[in-house]
């Protein structure tokens, strides 16, 4: 049984030992070490041992600190955010698409309106990917159609229909006069009108979007800054299998 209150474990239960490394913008010397020890104390590491320091150039010092934290962890108060969908590996995603669709999932991506910034959509779709993760093109069971920049909404709807898209991803970087919000709403409305309930999953992404806006914009999901291809792919798999069950 794990007890409710715990401390970090070094080599003895309850010793609270942690290690930390940091760089301070102070020339190497006793002052730099003292500065690191002071910070450690403020962080609750007391007593703190500066076990190593060395100069990085004339103005910085790298310091390694070991020490015991006085804080307690109350496990009852640990609130873990449950992701509504599991983060899957590329292999798991491929397997899951194969199982649920028994064909490749078709993903159509575009920058809509006058926005020429394909950075976002390319980071998600190009095999080069983003943050060390490959883009959706890398997934064997996804067929990706990247329409690129400045795609008009009617063209996007037409193409999504002819490609039999399961999901449509649009990215919007430019936010002048709320262009990203207006364009996304226009896109959602166009799909609703043209295809009704049979419309593909709609996903909008961009650095200035708030994920809570999905309902208001009429899309299934909104991704904000720092989203990785794996998160998007995992969501698509989750949403598709959910849709299958409902339908």
């Amino acid at each position: 049984m794990t007890s409710r209150y715990v401390r970090p474990y070094g080599d003895t239960t309850g010793d609270g030992m942690v290690q930390m490394s940091l760089t301070v913008p102070v020339p190497h010397g006793p002052k730099a070490e003292g500065a690191a020890a002071q910070l450690a104390a403020k962080m609750g590491i007391e007593p703190a041992m500066v076990v190593h320091s060395h100069a990085i150039g004339p103005d910085f010092t790298f310091v390694v600190v070991y020490g015991s934290v006085k804080h307690l962890i109350d496990l009852d108060e640990v609130k873990v955010v449950e992701r509504e969908y599991p983060l899957l590996s590329p292999t798991e995603i491929n397997t899951s698409v194969k199982k649920s669709l028994r064909r490749k999932m078709v993903v159509v991506g575009a920058c809509i309106g006058t926005d020429a910034h394909t950075v976002g959509i390319d980071a998600i779709l190009n095999i080069k990917g983003f943050a060390g993760q490959k883009g959706l093109e890398y997934y064997r069971e996804l067929r990706v159609v990247n329409l690129g920049a400045q795609v008009a909404v009617p063209d996007l709807v037409k193409r999504a229909r002819s490609e039999k898209a399961d999901a449509v991803l649009v990215s919007q970087v430019v936010t002048q006069r709320d262009a990203h919000l207006l364009n996304t709403k226009e896109m959602a409305a166009a799909f609703r009108e043209a295809m009704g309930e049979r419309r593909p999953l709609l996903v909008a992404g961009g650095p200035r979007f708030d994920p809570l806006q999905a309902g208001e914009l009429g899309v299934d999901r909104v991704f904000g800054r720092g989203t990785t291809p794996g998160e998007v792919a995992s969501f698509l798999v989750h949403a598709m299998s959910h849709k299958e069950k409902v339908a």
Binding site: S21, L22, T23, I56, G57, F60, F62, A116, H117, T118, V119, D122, A123, N126, I127, K128, F130, A131, G132, K134, E137, Y138, N146, G148
Partner: protein
């Protein structure tokens, strides 16, 4: 470095080269038969067009884009852009190419193909202007040689290669100078995400990028000047690297030549496979850019490491060898000698596999012995860096050891925080300390390293070479474009008619005129 630890059959190596040359031949013909908007823009940059139209509603549009697009509208690019441009300059009695560009933007210029005496006059003026640019490239090369002579090269091999990427050129300068003081011999400034897909080169000093800094002529100049200063301070010539890839490959090559960059990432297939750029566009642009690099004395770095991050590093090891042979062939054809061929490869085998390090040694030695005179670029683990920074630091140590043991020439320093954060100041410092420890402790271990003639390493290297020959035979039968279309490299399928930038490719007419290409091929300066 000439060593023969693997006992490779020289007949097999020669056969691999012949097959690569045969596979490349039709693609080279294709490259010669076309021009692209980017080649034309690069030539106009050599001829002296600089700057951008800042009044355009879409933001700054470089003058070269304005001019080439307008020439294309009026009279096509089949004969190149130079004749119509220099004819118009005379017809409209304009003093400079900038004035011509401004008049073009204002809609005052009607471009047409000159004939007879007019054609001769335009050709002569174009040649004289392009010659000036070419001589500037030659001067940059001579100045590099002079500085290397005066300040000196790094004392050790491999040269230590470090990356900076803040998005702000001024901040990059601070980081680059500190990296040089910490031991870097080569600084690479990573480009802003997605610059490879821009069909124009941004202008001026830039201070905001996405996970990197825009490659611009002014940014090149600023960084080179800063590195010249720090070179004197640290007593070795610090080389500067950027990326001649993507839709503006030829223009970046020209700007790098003018501003004395020392190395350029430049791969024959990377843009096709990983950026979905049209294959024909890539091969045409690549040939021109490599001719410029040859002229400028710029070492190219090829991108074979990327295949291993997408495909399995064991199963796909031979695709690296095949790509290296193709890169070598395309580079030789464009006039690059072996000493400017920084062929790439990487330490990307899953560390949980038994004998992973022995396989890494086999692959690294294979590259070393197949390309004995090329400055090979050895790339650190990225795919199996998990965020466990302690394990990552150990892996980087083994990567460094493999590098010195197999005589690699350029070592890209691995960071333990790969895939976690952009490197902290301390990450870079610890990474360089890792390299220094290995160099100091084992830098000469290669002298004692003799893999057993029938041992695991030798057998593995022979197997990979045989697989490479097998794949080259298949490519020879089907053609390289088909192999690319079928996903042979890095698992990506790219048909020759698809991809970005396809509309910028133009079939050359018999009367095509481009003095830059001739000067690059003959070495002429006028």
């Amino acid at each position: 470095m000439t060593r023969a630890l693997l006992g490779l059959d020289q007949g097999t190596v020669a056969r691999a080269r012949e097959l690569a040359a045969a596979a490349a031949a039709p693609v080279i013909e294709l490259a010669k038969a076309h021009t692209t908007v980017a080649v034309e823009r690069a030539t106009l940059r050599l001829a002296g067009i600089t700057g951008a139209d800042s009044t355009h509603r879409a933001g700054d549009v470089p003058w070269v884009n304005r001019v080439v697009d307008t020439v294309r509208d009026h009279c096509g690019l089949e004969q190149g852009s130079l004749l119509p441009v220099f004819h118009a300059l005379r017809e409209h009695d304009l003093g400079t190419l900038t004035e011509l560009a401004e008049a073009t933007a204002a809609g005052q210029v009607r471009f047409a193909l000159p004939e007879g005496k007019d054609r001769d006059r335009a050709a002569k003026a174009a040649r004289s202007a392009v010659g000036k640019g070419m001589r500037q490239v030659d001067r940059s090369r001579a100045q590099r040689a002079k500085l290397v002579e005066k300040i000196g090269d790094p004392q050790q091999r491999p040269w230590i290669y470090l990356i900076v990427a803040t998005g702000d050129i001024d901040e990059d300068v601070v980081q680059a100078c500190n990296a040089a003081r910490a031991g870097a011999d080569i600084i690479a400034v990573i480009r802003s995400t997605g610059q490879s897909l821009l069909d124009y080169v941004p202008e001026g000093a830039t201070h905001r990028g996405f996970a990197g800094t825009y490659a611009t002529q002014e940014n090149f100049r600023i960084m080179r000047a800063a590195l010249d200063e720090v070179s004197k301070e640290v007593g070795r010539y610090i080389r500067l690297t950027n990326y001649a890839s993507g839709l503006c490959m030829p223009e970046i090559a020209v700007l790098g030549g003018l501003e004395r960059l020392d190395m350029m990432l430049n791969d024959c297939m990377y843009g096709i496979l990983f950026r979905d750029i049209n294959p024909i566009r890539t091969f045409v642009d690549q040939r021109f850019s490599r001719q410029v690099h040859a002229r400028a004395g710029i070492i190219i770095n090829t991108g074979e490491d990327n295949y291993l991050t997408t495909d399995d590093a064991v199963d796909a090891a031979h695709t690296v060898t095949v790509s290296q042979l193709l890169n070598e062939r395309f580079a030789h054809e464009a006039g690059l000698p072996d000493e400017l061929l920084g062929l790439g490869h990487a330490f990307e085998i899953n560390p949980d596999l038994p004998d992973s390090f022995r396989m890494e040694l086999a692959h690294a030695l294979l590259a070393r012995e197949v390309f004995p005179d090329a400055p090979l670029k050895w790339m650190p683990p990225t795919k199996h860096m998990t965020g466990d920074v302690f394990r990552g630091h150990l892996l980087d140590g083994f990567f460094n050891l493999a590098g010195v043991l197999t005589g690699q020439s350029i070592l890209l320093v691995g960071m333990m925080t790969e895939a976690v954060v952009t490197p902290f100041l301390s990450d870079r410092d610890l990474a360089v300390a890792n390299v220094r420890y290995v160099l100091n402790a084992a830098g000469n271990l290669a002298e004692d390293f003799r893999p057993a003639p029938d041992g695991f390493i030798v057998k593995r290297a022979h197997l990979v070479l045989d697989e490479a020959v097998g794949l080259l035979e298949r490519i020879g039968r089907d053609g390289l474009l088909k192999a690319i279309a079928e996903g042979t490299f890095g698992l990506m399928k790219r048909p020759p008619e698809g991809g970005k930038g396809a509309d910028g490719v133009v079939v050359k007419a018999e009367e095509y005129y481009n003095p830059a290409i001739e000067m690059l091929e003959t070495g002429a300066t006028k």
